[in-house]
Amino acid sequence: MSRSRRWINAQPSMFLKITLGLLPFLVLLLVYQYQSDARKAENPKDKLLPSFSEMSAAVDRHAFQPSKRTGQYLLWRDTASSLTRLLSGIAIAALLGLTFGLATGAFPMFDALSTPVITAISLIPPMAILPILFIVFGLGELSKVVLIIIGISPFITREIYLRTKEIPAEQLIKAQTLGGNSSQVVFRVLLPQIAPRLIGAVRLSLGSAWLFLIAAEAIAATDGLGYRIFLVRRYLAMDVILPYVVWITFLAFVLDRLLILISQKSFPWYHDD
C-alpha cells in the first residue's frame, strides 16, 4: 500500500487549508444566526442573542460616537485604559521574572535561598488574596497592575529559571576557562540565550494576564474593557458584550503576533531550525 493512501499523510492544499480553517468559524456564525433568529421570532426585543445589525449599532455607539453622558468615545477610552494596565503589568512582571529567574538559575546560593519561597508564592491563587491586595495597594490603578504582576510573574520566573538551568554546563565552563567572571557569564552567556525565551514565557502568560486584568476591572473601576463588560451585564446588553469580547480576542491575537515578530527580528538565530 502506497504512502499516499493513508489519511495521516494527506496534506491539504493551501486553498483547502484556508477553507478548512474558516469552516468552523462559518459554522459558529451560522449557528449563532439561527439561534438568534429563533429567539427574535419569539420576542423581537430579545437581548440574549442580539442580531448582527444590533451588534454593529452598539459598536458604532461605543466606538464612533461620543457618549451622551461623558462625551468620550467609550471603546477607545476603555481600550487605552485596559492596554495601559495590561502592558505595564506584563512589562514589570517580565522584568521581575527575568531578574529572579536568571538569578536563581545562575547562582546556586540564591537558588537555595529563594526558589522554595518563589515556588510557594507561585502556588497562591491571586484571586484568593484580593482583600489583602486592596488593603496594601488600595483600589486605584496600582492594585490592578499589581494583580497582573502577582498573577503572572511567578510563572515567568519559574519558566526562566528552568530555561537557564537547561543551558549546557559546558558553555559556562568554557566561558570560565576563558577567564569569564560571574557577571560576564550571566550577562554574556546566559542573558542573550534567555532573552528570546523570556518573550516565549510572556506569550504563554498573556492569557492569564488578560484574565487578571478583567478580574481587576470587574472589582472596582471607572473604565476599561472588563469594566464595560461587567457594567452592561447588569442589563443584559449582549449587543455590547459580544463585540467587546471579539475586540479583546483580537487585541490578544495582535499582542501575541507582535511578540513573535519582535522575537523573530531580534533573535533570528533562535528561530532558525
Binding site: 493512501r5 493513508r6 496534506q11 455607539r61 473601576a221 457594567l231 443584559l236
Partner: protein, 366 residues
C-alpha cells in the same frame, strides 16, 4: 501535493470510520444546535421560580424547604421548582432569557432588565420595600453634602446608584458632582478599609458591617425615600395569563410563609441562618425592611398613586443612564401599568403591578 480526497477507493473501512466519526459528531452538533434555546409558552403544569439571598426573599428558601410551596402547588395541580441562584443579576438574566417563569427582583431591575428586554413582566407579589437597608456611608464626614467631589464606590446601575441619585437631588447636587466607581458588592467591605475609598453606597448586611468600622457615618438611607426600592416576585405576564393557577399557588404559599415568619422566631432564625447570619442579625435587617406580612397592606401599597410616582422616578433615572435601551426616545418609552394609572407609553406596557392575586389572598379566596 495531491488533493485531500484522492484517497484510494479500496481504503479499509476502519479508516473510513475514522473519517465518519467527526462527521457524525458535527452533524449531531448541528442538530443539537438547531433546537432553539427559548421555549414556547403555553399552558403547562410545571414551573420554575428563582430567588437570591436577600433579607426580603429568604422566605422563598424557607417556603421551599418547609414544603409550603409544594403544598400550594399540589392544591392547584401544578409543579413548582424553587431554585436559589447565588448571583442576583444572573438570576434576573436567566429569568429574562426564559429559563425561569418567575424571579425575585427589585422594581428598578425589573424595569431595566426583563421589561427593557421585551419580556412583559408582572409584579405578582410585592413583598417589602427597603426602609433603611440601602445606605450612603461617608468616611470621616457626617453630612451628605460633603460627598461633593468625592469618589463614590457602589455597584453602578443598581438600586445603590438610584439611591445616590435621589440623595444628591435632595441636597441640590447632581451626579456630575461626584465620580462613581463601579465596585463589586462582594468586595465592598474590604474596599472600604482602603484609604482610596471615602464614600460607599451599598445594602445590608454590608451596611451594618461597614458601619462598625471607625469613621463610618450613615448620611442617607432608603428610609428617606420610603417605598421607592421595592422587592417583588416578578412573573412572566404571558405565563401568568395562561396559567392563573401558578399565580394562585405562589400567592397562597407566600402569605402562609409570611404568617409563619411573623409568628415564629424559629422560622426567622432559620431564614437568618440561611442568609449567613443568626436571628439577631436577621431581625436587625428586618428592622430596616418594611415587610408586608398582610396581603391587604401590600394591595393598598400597590393601589396607591405613590407607586406611580415612584415608578416615574425610577423610569427617569433608568432613561438618563441608558438603561431603557439606546432606542428609547424618553423615560416613558416603556409603559408601566399600576392600578392608579399608566406611566409612559400605554401601547408599550411591559411592566405591570397587578394586585389581583394578592387581593385573592387578602380575601381568603385561595
Amino acid at each position: 501535493m495531491y488533493k485531500l480526497f484522492s484517497a484510494h477507493k479500496t481504503q479499509t473501512t476502519r479508516r473510513q470510520r475514522g473519517f465518519f466519526t467527526p462527521l457524525i459528531f458535527s452533524t449531531c452538533l448541528l442538530i443539537l444546535s438547531a433546537v432553539p434555546l427559548g421555549q414556547a409558552v403555553a399552558e403547562r403544569d410545571s414551573f420554575r421560580v428563582c430567588w437570591s439571598i436577600y433579607v426580603g426573599w429568604m422566605p422563598w428558601g424557607y417556603g421551599a424547604e418547609a414544603g409550603i410551596v409544594n403544598k400550594w402547588a399540589d392544591k392547584y395541580g401544578i409543579d413548582i421548582e424553587v431554585v436559589q441562584i447565588n448571583d442576583y443579576i444572573e438570576s434576573i438574566n436567566q429569568y429574562t432569557a426564559g429559563e425561569f417563569d418567575a424571579c425575585t427582583m427589585t422594581n428598578m431591575d425589573a424595569l431595566t432588565i426583563p421589561s427593557a428586554g421585551g419580556v412583559d413582566t408582572t409584579a405578582l407579589i410585592v413583598g417589602d420595600f427597603s426602609n433603611g437597608n440601602d445606605a450612603i456611608i461617608l468616611k470621616d464626614e457626617t453630612s451628605l453634602s460633603a460627598i461633593k467631589g468625592q469618589k463614590v464606590n457602589l455597584v453602578e446601575l443598581s438600586v445603590s446608584h438610584y439611591l445616590l441619585a435621589r440623595a444628591l437631588d435632595s441636597v441640590s447636587l447632581a451626579e456630575k458632582d461626584v465620580t462613581v466607581v463601579n465596585t463589586s458588592d462582594a468586595d465592598m467591605v474590604s474596599a472600604y478599609t482602603t484609604k482610596d475609598v471615602t464614600s460607599v453606597v451599598t445594602w445590608n448586611p454590608l451596611v451594618a458591617e461597614i458601619l462598625k468600622m471607625p469613621g463610618a457615618t450613615k448620611v442617607f438611607d432608603s428610609a428617606s425615600i420610603p417605598g421607592e426600592i421595592i422587592d417583588t416576585l416578578m412573573i412572566n405576564t404571558q405565563t401568568l395569563q395562561e396559567n392563573p393557577n401558578l399565580g394562585k399557588a405562589l400567592a397562597g404559599a407566600w402569605y402562609e410563609i409570611m404568617q409563619n415568619m411573623q409568628e415564629s422566631a424559629d422560622v426567622r432564625a432559620s431564614m437568618g441562618k440561611a442568609s449567613g447570619t443568626d436571628l439577631a442579625g436577621y431581625e436587625m435587617q428586618l428592622a430596616s425592611t418594611h415587610m408586608y406580612y398582610a396581603a391587604g397592606d401590600a394591595v393598598d401599597f400597590v393601589n396607591s398613586p405613590d407607586l406611580l410616582q415612584t415608578m416615574q422616578y425610577v423610569a427617569e433615572f433608568s432613561f438618563t443612564h441608558g438603561l431603557l435601551g439606546e432606542g428609547a426616545p424618553d423615560a416613558g418609552f416603556i409603559g408601566i401599568a399600576t392600578p392608579a394609572g399608566i406611566f409612559g407609553d400605554a401601547d408599550n406596557v411591559l411592566l405591570r403591578f397587578d394586585p389581583t392575586y394578592m387581593q385573592m389572598a387578602a380575601d381568603g379566596k385561595l
